[in-house]
Structure formats: structure tokens, C-alpha cells
Symmetry: C2
């Protein structure tokens, strides 16, 4: 049984792309006591992959050069020496960018019954937890408040806006291009959209948020965040979830100029990392499942076929090509 | 009885200085029912005066052109038609940059017995409340944590650092010049000082805060704040109290480049305005008075003699000339 995977060979200077990786055969150890051999079915691609490949210590250590790229994936158990799992079980965990892997059974979690790998990544998993806890726990979002979400047609943003609508907020999404803006308003039910590629974001925020922004769910950073800071309402909260506009930057990023408004408005900017919320995952899954079953959460998937395309596909997140949850189909469901 | 005051004649382009003001006779209405005529004794000068003179709506409306400059002052009641006050009472309130004023008695507060105008401005009043609630309520400061305070030899900063020591924190102050650094460490008991005029702030923060910064009490903004953001500890808090480095800026300010670290560290940047804490003033005054009586709060005053010098004196806050609480003595205590 051979196994292949993507090895991180070089640190990205700007983009994390094919130049940084090498497709190699990866040794597969025997399945010892407590461990499990998994076949990868679906690999999640996320903006944070760019952070993991950087040499900088962040919320996780950098992926070491010469090792398989870190990645969250859904797989099927092929062989198990852990009583928790048996062949055929669908599980998810940090399986890496490879066809197969042997991991401790304790490092895996099962998928809820009836949930497909696509649904898992698009609605539950790290994306769902990020949207749910970011908006409700960090952002302390309340019915009647105004929510602005950037990268609104992305995996997290599209959920955040819908959760906002489900709890009774006025929701404005910022996205790139007419089709994404149409999708979030017509299909997902956002109250309004701002096309940052063709519109003046600050001007449109003034029009669409006459009483200011109560919660800015920030996925982008840079100029878009700055425009939101300038429009923050009294006691407005900025959920600092991601800063995708900055991840590929080679020089020092330009910081927000409107920080003085955070002071004047008694605003709050708060960073968060979804890993901190894993112990409370059950809370979110229950509510997300309820909304999904009631037709109150739509999702889109952006599925790339074949693990060989993973390095090239990652750029879809940074170029604006992606809509909904980006993932790579590695193998068919058994 | 004549009355003179400083009229705001022009909006500041850069500095708020003598060019912006005119010394004029100001009409003094008769003392009607419920009102009081005050003689100004001591005027507080604060960085926020620069904000009030700007045309921008902030936490208070701009001072209208052609009106007496807004200012917090201590005065003595000369004539009262409000049963709460009698001639000879020492009171404080928004009396403005003028020799006398007639105001509603309801707009005044008495000074605690035995507290001088200097002590009132240096330890209690808006300065004491800012330091106390900013550090403890917004910053959620705890014993054993590391506190960094900028403008540490200023009125607020010097109190913040001492309150930090009084509750058992490790305290690092950032100030300009050897004498200020000596004062905050040797006289006020800070653990360490960084002279931003002669030292590399980011490098010194790495040395002096090996486990990172738990609370950054930020009075300065700009590059100094940026250095602190880059050194924030896990779940570190930035109390955004002031951004004096930005107030005189003519172009757009340069924003902090280290915002990504706020995300990684699950940090929080929170703006606050002391006015929100007026209802809880008693809490702070009790504790501040206790520390003062026990010799655990030192203070310095920077007293300029004569209301005619108020516009020129304001620049002491921005040029770094000031140490401790800046105020203008308008008249002798009766």
C-alpha cells in the first residue's frame, strides 16, 4: 500500500503555492495499539493554512519544513487498533495533506450521523464553530443590532451573516463582485451587500448602517476593517477572526487609521481562535443542526477534485475566486 | 465686575495654541434661581482639550467657534441662588477657560473635605477615575500580571503605574527622558522604565516583559502602542485611554502593524471614556483616598500661573515638557 502527500519544502515569500510543496511518497507505519489507519476523503483548505506555513510562531507552531503539510480532513477508518473506531467509520481530524495516515484514535472525532463530509466542513466543524462562537460569544451579538461581515461569501462569512439573520440582526455583507453580492442577499437573506471591488466601502457603510456598526465580524483586515472601525457604533465590537488581506503581504502591513474612533465609541477589538471553543462544540452543533434542518442555513461548497490540485487550489481563497467552503476531494466515499 | 476668558476663534490645524484663541471680555449674567456665580481658581489642562477644539464630533460635541473654551476647573462660590451651595464653597465642574462663570448649581460637585484643588486634579477628579477604572474595570488588571503604561510620567500614567504596584503587578513605564524615567522608578516605585527617546521600545519590552504584556494602558498610540501590541501576552488587554501621539497629526495617522498579534493572542483592545464612570466615582475616591493617606500614591503637579498662559501651556502636554498633572492657577484660594 503506497501513500503520497504534499511535503512543505519551502516557506512562502508571498503566496503559498505549488513552488512551496513537493509531492512525495510518505511512509505509512504499522497500526500499533491505540492507533488507526485512515484513508483521506476530503481535505479542508483554509486561509489559516498560509499562517501555518509561515516560519512565525502563532497560535500553532509552524509546519516544519520537510514534513507533510498540516490540514484538517475527513477520512474513513481502514484499520483500527483502537476500540473506539472500526473499519468504515467516518472521522475527522488533523490528517494532513496526504492520501493515508496512521494516527492515534484519540486524535479523531466522529462525524454526526447522516452528516456528509461537505456538510461537515461547510456548516459544522471549525467553520461552524468559528461563525457561531465568534458572533455570539466574542461579538455578543444581539437581536436588533447591525452586523457587518467581510469576506461575506466565504465559508465563515456566509454562515455568520445567516446566523445574524436567524437571531434578528440587520446584516450587511462585504464581498467582491456582483455574483457574490447577489448570492448573499437573494439566496442567503442578508439585508444588503457592498461590492468592495466596485463600490466605496466607507460611503456605503454610512448609507447602510445609519446608526453605526454594532458588530463587525472581521475576516479581511486592512482597508476594509479600517472602514468598519470608522463606522463603529457606541460600544461596537470588532470580532477579529481573520485578516486575509494581510497574510500574503511581504512588507509590514498598513495598520488601521481609524483606531481613534474605537476610543471615542468605547469600542472593543477582540481576537479569537476557534480552538479555544472546542470544549463547547456541542452547544454550537445543536443549534447549527437545528437551523440547517429548518432550512435556515444555506451553504455553498467549492470542491476541487484530486489531492494533486491542493497547492494550486489554495490561491482561490486569496484571489477572490472562492465562494462558500473550499475543500479538496481526495477519494470517493466508500 | 468684569470677566475675561479665552474664546475659541479658530480650529487648530496642528497645535491648539495661542493662534486659535482670543482673550475677550465675557458677559456675566445675573444669578437667577438655581444658579451660582463661581470664581475660577484652578483650570485643568488635558490632552482631550485638543479633541474638543477639533471640528469632529467625538464623545462630546466640538466647542463652537466664538465660545469660551471648554475646561474642567475648580472654583469658589461667590453668590448662590441654589440651596445646595453657599458663598465660599469649593466646587468643580465644566467652568471653561474664564475668570468667572454663572452656571446651574446642579452642574457642580463639591470637593471632598480637606482636598486641595491640586490634589483634586492630580489624584481624584477625572484623572483618578480614568486611572482607576481604566486599569481595573476595562483592563481587568490582576495581581501578578505585567502592566505596561505609556506616557508614564503624565497625570494618568503616573497614577496607573502606582495603582498597578498597589495591587501587586509587575509595572513597566514608558516615558521620555532620563529624569522622567528616574522619577517613575525611584520615587513612584515602578519596576522598570523605558526611555522612548533613547531606547528601542520593542527590544526593551522583550527584555522587561519576558512573558508578554497582560495589560497595556495606552495613552500614546502610534509606534509605542504598536510595540506593545507586538508583545501582548495570551489574552492581553489594551486599555485604549488616549492616543496623544495622533492628536496633532495633520495627515491620516499610521495605524498599528501588529494587529495580527492581537488575533493570535486572543487579545482585546478596548476604548473607554471616563465620563461613563461618573456614577461609580465614589468607589474609586474611597480607594484612592485610602492609598493617598497611606503614602501609597505620590503625585506631581505642573502648575502654570495665570489664565493668560493657558493656551501656550497646553503644548507642554504634547512636547513632552510636562510631568505630572498640568493645571493653570487662575486665582488664589480665598
Amino acid at each position: 500500500m503506497t501513500n503520497h502527500g504534499w511535503i512543505l519544502e519551502r516557506r512562502p515569500v508571498e503566496k503559498l503555492d505549488s513552488d512551496c510543496f513537493a509531492w512525495r511518497e510518505v511512509a505509512l507505519p504499522a497500526v500499533g495499539p491505540g492507533s488507526v489507519r485512515m484513508k483521506t476523503l476530503m481535505l479542508s483548505l483554509d486561509p489559516t493554512n498560509r499562517i501555518w506555513a509561515s516560519p512565525v510562531e502563532s497560535y500553532l507552531p509552524p509546519v516544519p519544513l520537510g514534513e507533510v503539510m498540516r490540514g484538517i480532513a475527513v477520512g474513513v477508518v481502514e484499520e483500527s487498533a483502537d476500540p473506539r473506531w472500526k473499519a468504515g467509520d467516518l472521522v475527522q481530524g488533523m490528517l494532513g495533506w496526504q492520501e493515508r495516515v496512521v494516527v492515534p484514535g484519540a486524535a479523531l472525532n466522529g462525524l454526526p450521523p447522516g452528516v456528509t463530509p461537505e456538510q461537515w466542513f461547510a456548516v459544522f466543524g471549525h467553520i461552524g464553530l468559528t461563525a457561531y462562537f465568534g458572533l455570539l460569544d466574542v461579538g455578543k451579538a444581539e437581536a436588533g443590532e447591525t452586523l457587518v461581515v467581510s469576506a461575506a461569501a466565504g465559508a465563515v462569512g456566509s454562515l455568520v451573516g445567516q446566523i445574524g439573520k436567524n437571531i434578528g440582526m440587520h446584516v450587511v455583507g462585504i464581498a467582491g463582485g456582483a455574483e457574490k453580492c447577489r448570492w448573499i442577499t437573494e439566496d442567503l437573506g442578508f439585508d444588503a451587500a457592498i461590492d468592495y471591488k466596485s463600490e466605496d466601502v466607507a460611503k456605503r457603510l454610512r448609507e447602510l448602517c445609519p446608526a453605526g456598526i454594532d458588530v463587525d465580524f472581521e475576516n479581511v483586515g486592512g482597508e476594509i476593517m479600517d472602514a468598519c472601525l470608522g463606522r463603529l457604533a457606541l460600544r461596537g465590537r470588532v470580532v477579529l477572526c481573520g485578516m486575509i488581506s494581510q497574510y500574503n503581504a511581504t512588507g509590514a502591513p498598513s495598520g488601521p487609521k481609524n483606531l481613534a474612533n474605537v476610543l471615542m465609541q468605547r469600542g472593543r477589538i477582540e481576537g479569537f481562535i476557534v480552538l479555544d471553543y472546542l470544549p463547547r462544540a456541542g452547544e454550537a452543533f445543536g443549534k447549527l443542526g437545528e437551523w440547517l434542518a429548518a432550512g435556515k442555513l444555506q451553504y455553498a461548497t467549492d470542491v476541487v477534485l484530486g489531492l494533486e490540485h491542493a497547492p494550486a487550489a489554495l490561491d482561490r481563497l486569496f484571489s477572490g475566486a472562492n465562494r462558500g467552503k473550499l475543500m479538496v476531494k481526495v477519494a470517493d466515499l466508500p
